[in-house]
């Protein structure tokens, strides 16, 4: 075994793990929280650079075929790390105002991020399981951060019990796949698999576990409750990075593990789930009164659009969508986190946003940019993402799927625009004193909004380049 090669192949993850340990050590030495904040942000930035460098390199496998690196998988890591970095940058002010600003929060974000990186690079069923669990256990802790509140503790309990339940299914699926093939490396499974009942049951259970993690209908019930009870910036982290990691792992399984003989049956299952997810997510989002719950159902709907891409094999479109989704969704959660910092006023219901557009002009404009992008209106990145995903469905001949997707996203216009109607066209209830946002916080949000616009006009990685990534690590 060549350890240096292995470590270099998984450099982003190694950097994140190391930074996490340093953060825990600093917390043990009772250093100021700002030190941990700075260290973790710097560590994630370093890992991000490593991942970007690695994404253009020749792909391969490392750690005796346990992980893949390079190209496509590394681009997934880039998205995850972007999500982590911006979550950390946005978190400091918000957590301080909720007196939740502990060093452990950053350590947990880093460990969750490490799990996601492992997940996005998994080439082996054990690494897949470990990645999912490292991510989930750290996220359970983050969900329970507001445990002194009834809603916070409830969110953590629901997330934990349902998550552990789903883990049981995932693990049983892994066991059955292992039992029917005697292999655990994804490519060897594909080579040894035959459509026996054992293998089919195993893949069904594995799919169930993954659908739970990406919040697809009918395994979505935890999403709104958990999103509502979790501190807002960390909700953004869960909604973006965790989803990206699960989708990249899902794509790795589809490309590397599913044997050609059973690919079509997987495809049809994913299509059905995609349709259900898009419809249920968008319809229930229409009646939400709480902004965070509305964004939770919208994230379910976005998982549906992403599944359209997965079903039609447009993995590069899915990757671009995940990238666009990460920046715009984090931005939206960031603005909500800003409003929530206001003392003595509950900024969770949509009605409480009445008249804020003129009171906080900059934040109003930023929120509008992110919401327009989430709708998928042309000059923004969200539009390009949706366009690529639906285009890949049309190319694969899945016209009904694309039609349902477009109709569902047309319905989504209502609930996103409703927030903006309240922002700009409704009179203020009573004057509230809004806190001033720090320069770094505002700058982060402006950067996110600017990139939402930039990547909408000029998608940096064109789809053909991304297809190159996909073939780069295919078996």
């Amino acid at each position: 075994m060549n350890y240096l090669h292995d470590i270099q192949a998984f450099l982003p993850g190694v950097i994140i793990a190391f930074t996490g340990l340093i953060t825990i050590l600093l917390e043990s030495l009772k250093r100021d929280v700002r030190t941990m904040y700075g260290v973790s942000a710097a560590g994630v930035l370093a890992a991000l650079i490593a991942a970007i460098l690695s994404s253009t390199s020749e792909g391969g496998t490392a750690f005796t075929d346990a992980i893949v690196y390079g190209g496509w998988s590394s681009f997934g890591q880039v998205i995850i790390l972007i999500g982590t970095l911006f979550s950390i940058l946005l978190s400091a002010d918000y957590l301080k105002s909720k007196s939740l600003h502990f060093g452990e929060v950053y350590a947990m974000i880093l460990f969750a991020s490490l799990g996601m990186l492992v997940l996005a690079a998994s080439n082996h069923l054990i690494t897949l399981f470990l990645g999912i669990e490292t991510m989930s256990v750290a996220l359970y802790v983050l969900a329970g951060l507001m445990h002194y509140r009834k809603t916070g503790a409830e969110a953590a309990l629901k997330y934990f019990l349902l998550g552990a339940f789903a883990t049981g299914f995932l693990l049983f699926g892994i066991a059955l796949i292992y039992g029917s093939t005697g292999e655990m490396t994804l490519t060897s499974v594909a080579a040894a698999a035959s459509p026996t009942p054992l293998f089919l049951a195993g893949s069904g259970l594995l799919l169930t576990g993954i659908f739970f993690k990406i919040g697809a209908v009918p395994f979505h019930m935890w999403t709104p409750d958990v999103y509502e009870g979790t501190p807002t910036t960390l909700t953004g982290f869960m909604a973006t990075s965790a989803k990206t990691a699960s989708f990249v792992a899902f794509a790795l399984i589809l490309v590397r593990m599913v044997p050609e003989t059973s690919y079509e049956s997987w495809q049809s299952v994913i299509q059905v789930i995609a349709i259900l997810t898009m419809i249920v997510g968008n319809v229930i989002a229409l009646v939400q009164e709480n902004v965070k719950r509305m964004l939770a159902y919208s994230s379910i709907a976005h998982a549906g659009y992403l599944l359209v891409g997965m079903a039609s094999g447009g993995y590069s479109a899915v990757l671009f969508y995940l990238f666009a989704y990460t920046i715009m969704n984090l931005g939206a959660f960031g603005v909500i986190a800003y409003f929530e910092r206001t003392k003595n006023f509950d900024f969770t219901s949509i009605e409480s946003y009445a008249g804020l557009g003129s009171r906080a002009p900059l934040m109003g404009v930023l929120l509008s940019v992110f919401l327009f992008s989430l709708i998928g209106i042309p000059p923004f990145a969200g539009f390009m993402g949706k366009y690529y995903v639906f285009a890949s469905a049309v190319q694969a001949g899945m016209i009904p799927l694309a039609v349902i997707g477009v109709l569902a996203s047309a319905a989504s216009v209502y609930y996103y625009l409703r927030v903006m109607v309240y922002l700009y066209f409704k009179p203020e209830h009573k004057p509230v004193h809004l806190e001033k946002a720090s320069v770094l916080f505002t700058a982060t949000l402006i950067l996110l909004a600017a990139s939402t616009l930039y990547f909408g006009i000029e998608p940096l990685v064109s789809v053909t380049d991304l297809f190159g990534f996909v073939t780069g690590i295919s078996p």
Binding site: Y140, A153, E154, L157, L161, A164, A175
Partner: protein, 100 residues
């Protein structure tokens, strides 16, 4: 000699008992115990497959699954204590503030 079928049957039965327990029990700690039962049923299946194939991979996964179950137990018990402090009960039907 006991064949692999018996181990798998036992594992499947334990797994189903776990699922049923999660679905019908109301005490959060019992629900959590049922989840652990599911994980251990899987461990049994993995070990018997591992012996059947003469391959060590399954056993290694069992190690990891045990360690993960321990980490989950730690976090889970802490969350259940937090629930108890808020509601003075661990009945999951009383944990119902968030819905729709």
């Amino acid at each position: 000699m006991i064949g692999i079928d018996w181990y798998l049957a036992l594992s499947a039965i334990l797994f189903v008992i776990g699922i049923v327990g999660v679905l019908i029990r109301r005490n959060a700690i019992v629900v959590f115990m049922c989840v652990e039962l599911m994980l251990n049923a899987v461990n049994l299946a993995l070990l018997s497959f591992s012996a059947y194939h003469g391959d060590i991979g399954g056993m290694i996964l069992v190690f990891f699954s045990l360690a993960v179950a321990a980490a989950e137990a730690v976090v889970g018990l802490a969350i259940i204590i937090a629930i108890f402090r808020n509601h003075l009960s661990v009945d999951i039907l009383k944990v119902n503030l968030l819905r729709w």
